[in-house]
Symmetry: C2
Subunit: 208 residues, 2 copies
């Protein structure tokens, strides 16, 4: 009976709840305590949630591929966006992660193509240009179809460093390079805004 | 491209990330946003986390049984606690849920047996005595081995109602019925304590 005691009086082995809790606690947003709660929640809903989740994990792991063109995740390679006849092939939006691509798609106001870098340059984490999908992006930008590259990396130091680096690399590619506008978030309150955003919004002020 | 758009340009079907995110978002502690994050986190760690988690869910779902004596969860029925020769068979600690049993075991200062009710009486949620494992408890308490029943239900209205109900039911069973002490939590600060706890601690004050 140790402090890690989760469940079964030490009866581990196959089907051990300890293993399940340990794996669940590795998910972002779940600590040891919430992993225990999630495990119990699942054990109460075996047929309606636990087994479907196990199957979904297995199938997704087996079926989801990384698109060889834009590095999006999809059941097909190339992905549904890269192969869609409805997308504007002249604009490529560069994002750090697949989650950023999903966020852009939820907005539903961009109809071009994407390029997922797989992260951002970071001296601290030892991530250099060779660790990101930048060479691939340069080749795509050199194609005749492409007229604009939108750099939609995060507005963090690493994200902006990455954007500047890519802008330099693409300087001779003959494409327009643009970035997302900075400013007051829609619905945002001035009083709660950080100084950097407020300064950027002020600098980029527009005539009404 | 709807607001629910999570991943693949509408390419659902087998292996669809949407399904996985939907299932993950049903776990306690994970909302839609953190479920998306968890799904991406898993897809980046297929061999080290995603597939082991799928297997652990499958195996746990298949192997874990509810103990027919105390309603604990274990790979064996009766569970490791009920069959352990090291446990004191004269004391039964009554808890609402398996998670409470785990919490008691982590403390490692109780060596008796347990009885998991499967919830608490609740007029609001329509949970009556027949929905809980109370009949089973009465039969266990009537056994000659048992001399004490500790009611360790939650210190909530429902938990305390349940404790009083069980104390009534067991009144003629010839066993000592006890409850957990109320008082100042160890390490707790008086200033931050609720009035109910403070009143209980004052009432149960001890000579030093």
């Amino acid at each position: 009976m140790s402090k890690d005691y989760p469940a079964t009086g030490g009866a581990g082995g196959p089907g051990g709840i300890e293993i399940l809790i340990g794996l669940l606690s590795k998910l972002p947003g779940l600590g040891p305590r919430s992993a225990r709660r999630a495990a119990l929640f699942l054990l109460k809903r075996r047929e309606s949630l636990m087994e479907p989740l196990a199957r979904a994990l297995m199938e997704t792991s087996a079926n989801i591929k990384t698109c060889s063109i834009c590095h999006n995740l999809d059941v097909n390679d190339p992905c549904a966006i890269c192969t869609s006849p409805k997308r504007d092939r002249s604009i490529i939006c560069v994002v750090e992660e697949v989650g950023d691509l999903w966020a852009m798609e939820r907005v539903a106001s961009f109809s071009g193509l994407y390029h997922v870098l797989g992260g951002a340059l970071s001296a601290l984490d030892g991530i250099g240009p060779d660790d990101l999908a930048i060479g691939n992006l340069v080749r795509r930008a050199a194609s005749d179809d492409v007229s604009e590259v939108i750099l939609a990396t995060n507005a963090t130091v690493d994200g902006q460093t990455t954007a500047h680096y890519i802008a330099d690399v693409l300087a001779d590619a003959g494409v327009t390079i643009s970035g997302l506008a900075h400013g007051v978030p829609v619905g945002g309150e001035i009083d709660y805004l950080d100084e950097g955003t407020l300064a950027a919004a002020l600098k980029a002020r527009k005539k009404l």
